[in-house]
Amino acid sequence: MYSDKVMEHFANPRNVGEIVDADGIGKVGNPQCGDVMWLYIKVKDNIITDIKFKTFGCGAAIATSSMITELARGKTIEEAKKISRSDVADQLGGLPAVKMHCSNLAADALKEAIKDYEAKQAAKGKPA
């Protein structure tokens, strides 16, 4: 039921882990299926230089987590903000209909992490 690309990312997920001194953390859960994703970003000169994730979820949730780290790494904050829910699914060669929400989880985690980063910057008095 999953594309080869999904299975490949599931089998060899990129960027698994935590960043202890992360600049932004996004923690999201899907109230429907109960899956949870935590995403950590490190930002330097407005560029996402490091990104890691931890996910409790189905195969698609793990694959989309892995994919979003690849899509966001090296991007500016503005570019990363433009990564949409469907980008993640498209890059994975599509997802089964019942699994589309799994890619939402990944996109939402990135948005939350960026929001957290910007809030922390604002708190420090620096422009985000």
Binding site: Y2, A11, G34, A60
Partner: protein, 404 residues
């Protein structure tokens, strides 16, 4: 290496089983040579009829029933539908009360839900943390207008074997028909409709090495039941439609073999089951057995692993050529975890991390050893990906617990 190059191991016998060569051989003449309609009076019809009646005897023999009490259907789902709706709607009565459980297969609970739309009332009995129905609860749930009690013989997910004999006795004392879904039980335990006080019993051939799309309902003589499929009046009016002769022959043969080989195949599967039940919790930290350790189907082992999700487990096992299944939400199309695991009192999160290993008569100890060898590594790999651990368990509202 792709899965097709691996030696594949099948541990999903509760989903379906392989047709045994003997069964396939018995069916073969009924496609190209003896293809008649069993209702025809000519020789083509007569040979088909003879084969059907032979199969009816084989099924009756397996259950300790009379051949006239066996009705062929298209499978377990239809047998369950016929039992539930056929008894409830007898003589066009459109009201009454049914008692069943929270752990039934959907083939029983969905017909019950459907009946509710027409004014029937249904009590779904709870189960213990090991999945058992308390016969005392059955007795207390009985009302003056109770028309059917339906409790499965053994559960398809966690393998728990219900006290059907006691429940059947209670039903009979009150004169209420008692149905049991024995789809998972055939070939895995001794089934005797007389000793177990059963009025209606569902079975399905593909769960015990017969073909798919054929099953039977045992209907004890005198049980008040209506057909739910009307037509040409086959199966003594209870199930119209030209008989699936090859399927029926395959079911008969599979029933004969199930009875013939019951003792040694059960002993063999039980050995392997007990090996898994003993070793998995030893080899994997924070792994638990779901259901009762002994009063369960000889072929069913069901585990739960903290902090991970079952679909990942199944996919990882599949990459190693091992086919198993999960009661977790994500792989079944619906997002809710299994209603059976929730009925045991497990949280959504716990229910998510489940693994069902169901053995067949053809599995070997070597195959079980391979599973025991690869499982700990797979679990720890998935736990590395998980945000949760013994030090940092899932908190309330973080995911599973906020469902609905």
């Amino acid at each position: 290496m792709s899965a097709s190059e691996l030696k594949r191991i099948y541990f999903d016998h509760s989903a379906t089983t392989r047709v045994l060569p003997e069964v396939e051989e018995a069916m073969r003449p009924f496609f190209l040579e003896k293809w008649g309609n069993a209702s025809s009076i000519h020789s083509f019809g007569r040979e088909a009829r003879a084969a059907i009646e032979q199969a009816r005897k084989q099924v009756a023999n397996l259950l300790n029933a009379d051949p006239a009490e066996v009705v062929f259907t298209s499978g377990g789902t239809e047998s369950d539908n016929l039992a539930v709706k056929g008894v409830a709607m007898y003589k066009g009565k459109m009201k009454g009360h049914l008692i069943t459980t929270k752990v039934e297969h959907h083939a029983v609970s969905e017909p019950c839900e459907w009946l509710k739309r027409f004014g029937f009332e249904v009590t779904y009995l709870p189960v213990s943390s090991e999945g058992f129905v308390d016969p005392g609860e059955v007795e207390r749930a009985i009302r003056n207008d109770t028309i059917l009690i339906s409790v499965m013989m053994a559960n398809n997910e966690i393998g728990t074997i219900q006290p059907v004999r006691e429940i059947g006795m209670i039903a009979h004392e009150k004169g209420i028909p008692f149905h049991t879904d024995a789809v998972q039980s055939i070939g895995k335990m001794h089934v005797d409709v007389k000793a177990e006080n059963i009025d209606l019993l569902s079975l399905s051939a593909h769960k015990f090495h017969g073909p798919k799309g054929i099953g039977a309902l045992f209907v004890k003589k005198g049980t008040k039941i209506e057909p739910i499929i009307q037509g040409g009046g086959q199966e003594r009016g209870l199930r119209s439609s030209t008989e699936n002769v090859p399927g029926i022959v395959g079911l008969g043969k599979a029933a004969e073999i199930a009875k013939r080989d019951l003792e040694h195949t059960c002993a063999r599967m039980k050995n392997l089951r007990d090996k898994m039940i003993k070793h998995v919790p030893e080899l994997v930290p924070r792994a638990y057995v779901n259901g009762n350790k002994t009063r369960r189907l000889v072929n069913n082992a069901h585990f739960r692993f903290d902090f991970i999700e079952g679909e990942g487990l199944i996919l990882q096992l599949d990459m190693k050529g091992i086919a198993a299944s999960t009661g977790s939400a994500c792989s079944t199309g619906s997002l809710e975890p299994s209603h059976v695991l929730l009925a045991l009192g497990l949280t959504h999160e716990q229910a998510h991390g489940s693994l069902r290993v169901t053995l067949g008569r053809e599995n070997t100890e070597e195959e079980v050893d391979i599973l025991l060898e690869v499982l700990p590594g797979i679990v720890s790999k998935l736990r590395e990906i998980s945000p949760f651990s013994a030090e940092r368990p899932m908190g309330p509202g973080e995911g599973a617990s906020c469902v609905q």
